[in-house]
């Protein structure tokens, strides 16, 4: 059996790295809809793709969170990107593959992937 105590070794390694906590308010939020409709449409792999992608690319000021139903169930999985001082971007019918594109082009590159936004779906 693995024990959570094994994390002390990882902690000791990380203590050496100066790692500043990012304030929530200056953080870009990637919000994944995780209500019944979202989960049924495949939100779990989408959330995984975003959190794995953000971490493997070493992006620091981005937080992945979940929320309930926003009332647009037929467009699930829905992902909102909320950056401070910018207009909210709503991506619809998301997949893990599309998530990788959004991370690359929008989160890192700063260009909204308009072909996946709700405006182009309506």
């Amino acid at each position: 059996m693995k024990s959570l105590e094994e994390l002390t070794a990882i902690r000791d390694k990380m203590q050496a790295i100066v790692n500043l906590r990012i304030e929530d308010s200056s953080c870009t939020k990637i919000v994944v809809g995780m209500a019944t409709c979202g989960i049924a449409a495949g939100a779990r792999p989408v959330l995984k793709a975003f959190s794995d992608g953000v971490q493997s690319k070493g992006i620091k000021d981005v937080m992945v969170t979940q929320e309930g139903c926003i009332g647009l169930c037929k467009y699930e999985p829905i992902v909102e990107v909320v950056a401070p001082g910018k207009e909210k971007v709503t991506y619809v019918n998301m997949t893990a593959e599309k998530a990788a594109e959004v991370i690359e082009q929008h989160i890192i590159g700063g260009n909204v992937v308009t072909k996946y936004t709700i405006n182009s779906a309506m």
């Binding site: 059996m1 959570l4 390694k13 779990r44 971490q55 969170t65 979940q66 139903c69």
Partner: protein, 185 residues
């Protein structure tokens, strides 16, 4: 209707998140002797009044103001009942809610447990400020995953890193596999 129990659990946990719980406890207990698979999701969120609680198993009841249906609880209840099992929900306004589904383990109509590691990882990663306790037991042997324990180890050091998440994932996968000892639930 979901294809496995782990997706139902993810859905019920979203209710705890919406109820602004600071602690969510998820328990999966498999007993071959009793032929049951029991799932308990307990939170310390805002809870419900008795009249809200009576309505929550009605698919056309929801607390969400943007829609008129709430299928999470009815789906979970139906899944348990289809296997010949039962469903209980208990809540107190201001204290929290406990949802319990007991499945008949050997029933052909019991959906598989599914990928609990994925469900727990999703909940942990998307709710950094909520404490998550997950306990998994097979025939009285089990393990407990507790984010409070992780927070205690890390203190002020950020624990939202690749290394930590990789560790949590293998902790959940390896311990589950060891307890299952070849069986597939």
């Amino acid at each position: 209707m979901f294809s496995d129990i782990s997706l139902n659990i993810l859905d019920i946990v979203q209710n705890s998140v919406s109820a602004r719980a600071s602690l969510i406890e998820i328990t999966v207990n498999i007993s071959n002797a009793e032929d049951t698979l029991t799932v308990v999701i307990k939170d310390n969120g805002c809870g419900m009044t008795d009249s809200e609680l009576m309505k929550v198993v009605d698919p056309f009841y929801t607390t969400g103001n943007k829609k008129s249906v709430g299928l999470g609880v009815p789906f979970f209840k139906m899944a348990a009942q289809l296997s010949g099992g039962r469903f209980e929900i208990d809540s107190e306004k201001g204290k929290g809610t406990e949802v319990k589904a007991i499945f008949v383990l050997s029933s052909i109509d019991r959906m598989p447990l599914g990928n609990m590691t994925e469900t727990i990882m999703s909940v942990v990663k998307a709710n950094r400020n909520t404490d998550i306790v997950y306990s998994y037991t097979v025939d009285s042997k089990g393990f407990v995953f507790d984010t409070r324990q992780i927070r205690k180890i890390f203190g002020d050091i950020p624990c939202d890193t690749h290394e930590v998440n990789d560790f949590i994932q293998s902790f959940l996968n390896e311990n589950t596999a060891e307890l299952n000892s070849g069986a597939n639930y």
